[in-house]
Amino acid sequence: MMKKEILKIAAADLVPTGDSILAAQGALPSGKMRADINTAVDDARKLFVELAEPKAIMTEIGAAEFDLIYRGTGRNSQPALLDFILPQASHLALIAATVGQKVTQRIGELFESGDFLLGAMLDAAASGGADEASRMLERLFQDRLTAEKRIGPMDEVFCYSPGYCGWHISAQRQLFAYLQPGVIGLSLRDSFLMEPVKSISGVLVAGSADIHQFDDTFPFCTECRTRSCRARMGRTQKRQ
C-alpha cells in the first residue's frame, strides 16, 4: 500500500488552456475576443506559471479507515453518491493539493488595483490549475495501480470531494486530521473551506469504470451548478 507522500508539481504542467480560462468567464470557445482580452489570457497563464507553487499530498487508505472520514459528522445527504460507489471500489487514496498562496495574493492585488480583467483571468487560471492537479493525481494513482497490476485496463480512478455529490463539506475536518496537509501549506477554515483557496481535496476511488457511471438525478443534483460529473462520465465512456 502506498505511503503518505508529498509531491511537488511544476506549475507549467497545470496551466489551463486559454480557451478553458475564457470558458470559465462564460465566453464561448469559438467566440472572437478583443485583442486586449486575449492578451490578458496570455498574461494570466504566464503569471500562473510564475507565481503558482503547486504541491500535493497523497496517501492510500483502507476502506474501513476511509469510512470514518466519509461519515464525518453524519451530515451527508441520504443517499449520497459515494454510498453506491465505495462498496464497489478496489482501492482508495486521500489527496489534497494546492497551487499556493502567492497566486491568490496576486489576484487580490489585481482586483484592488482595478485590473479586473487580468485578476479574473488569473483567478480562472488558478481554479483550473487546482482542478488539473486533481486530474494529475488521478492519473498518477491509476498508473501506479496499473504498474503494480492491482487494477486492470478497464478500471478507472476518479476523485470525489467533500462538499460535492452529497458528501458534506464538514467531512473536511476528518480528512484533514488524517492526511495532515499542513505540510504542504494547507489549512482549514472554520467554514471547512481551505486556505489557500485555490486548492482541492478528496478521495481517489479506483474501480471498474462502470462504478463511476450514474444517473445525475439525486436530489442534490438539481442544486448542482457545475454538473462536472457529466464530462467525467464522458471521459470514461470514451476510454471504453
Binding site: 468567464q25 479586473f116 479574473a120
Partner: protein, 212 residues
C-alpha cells in the same frame, strides 16, 4: 458634450489610454469631475452593463471596460478629494461564509464602482456578523451578500437576523444575489431585495439610496 461621448465610447471599446487622455482633456476644458464621471464613465458602464445583461457581450468585455473606467476614475479621484465631493454612497459586499464563489460578487462590485458608489468588498467566506459590523463601522447603508451554493444560503438569513437583533432592519438594506436565491427567498428571510444580476443590483442600490 462631444468629449464626454467620446470618453463613453472609448470606455465601451476598452481603450484605457484614450479614456485617460480624453479625461485629461475634459478636465482641462473645465468640466467638473462629477460631470465627467456621471456623463461619460458611468454612462459608458451602464451601456456595457445593459449589453451584458442582453447577452450581447461576455464577462471579459465587461471586465475590460471596467479596467478602462478605472483609468479615468484614477484621474478624477484627486478632484473629488479637492472639491470634497462625496461618493454616491457606501455598499458592503461579500460572498457568504462557506462559499468561495465570487465572480458574481466581483461583477456587482465593479458595476457599483462604475456607478459611482464606494464599495467595501469583504471578499469570500465572510461570517454573517462581519457584514453588519462593517456596515455599521463604515456607515454603509447597504449590504450585498452573494452565494452560489444552496448550502450557504442560510448564512444570508443569519445576516438578516443580526440586522433585526440590532434594530437595523430597514436602516441598513440587505440585498441578496447568486444563482440559487430568488425573490421568494429574499422575502422569506427578511432581506430587502433580490438582485437577479449585477445591473439589477445597481438599480436596486440606486433606488434605495435615492431617498436619502
Amino acid at each position: 458634450m462631444e468629449l464626454l461621448k467620446q470618453i463613453s465610447q472609448s470606455l465601451q471599446d476598452g481603450d484605457d489610454e484614450k479614456v485617460a487622455s480624453l479625461t485629461k482633456d475634459a478636465l482641462t476644458a473645465g468640466m467638473t469631475a462629477r460631470q465627467i464621471l456621471d456623463e461619460s464613465l458611468i454612462a459608458g458602464m451602464t451601456i456595457i452593463g445593459n449589453k451584458f445583461k442582453a447577452h450581447e457581450i461576455f464577462l471579459p468585455d465587461v471586465l475590460l471596460s471596467a479596467r478602462t473606467m478605472y483609468a479615468g476614475l484614477e484621474l478624477l479621484k484627486p478632484h473629488f478629494l479637492k472639491d470634497d465631493i462625496p461618493s454616491r454612497g457606501k455598499v458592503v459586499i461579500g460572498t457568504v461564509q462557506g462559499d468561495l464563489h465570487d465572480i458574481g460578487k466581483n461583477l456587482v462590485g465593479i458595476m457599483l464602482k462604475g456607478a459611482g458608489y464606494e464599495v467595501i468588498d469583504l471578499g469570500n467566506d465572510v461570517p454573517p456578523a462581519k457584514f453588519v459590523d462593517t456596515a455599521v463601522s463604515q456607515g454603509a447603508a447597504i449590504i450585498g451578500t452573494s452565494a452560489l451554493l444552496t448550502t450557504t444560503m442560510p448564512m444570508m438569513a443569519q445576516v438578516a437576523g443580526i440586522l433585526k437583533e440590532r434594530g437595523l432592519t430597514g436602516k441598513i438594506k440587505l440585498i441578496i444575489g447568486g444563482a440559487p436565491v430568488s425573490d421568494a427567498f429574499a422575502r422569506e428571510i427578511g432581506a430587502d431585495a433580490y438582485g437577479f444580476d449585477a445591473v439589477k443590483a445597481v438599480e436596486i442600490v440606486d433606488r434605495f439610496l435615492a431617498g436619502r
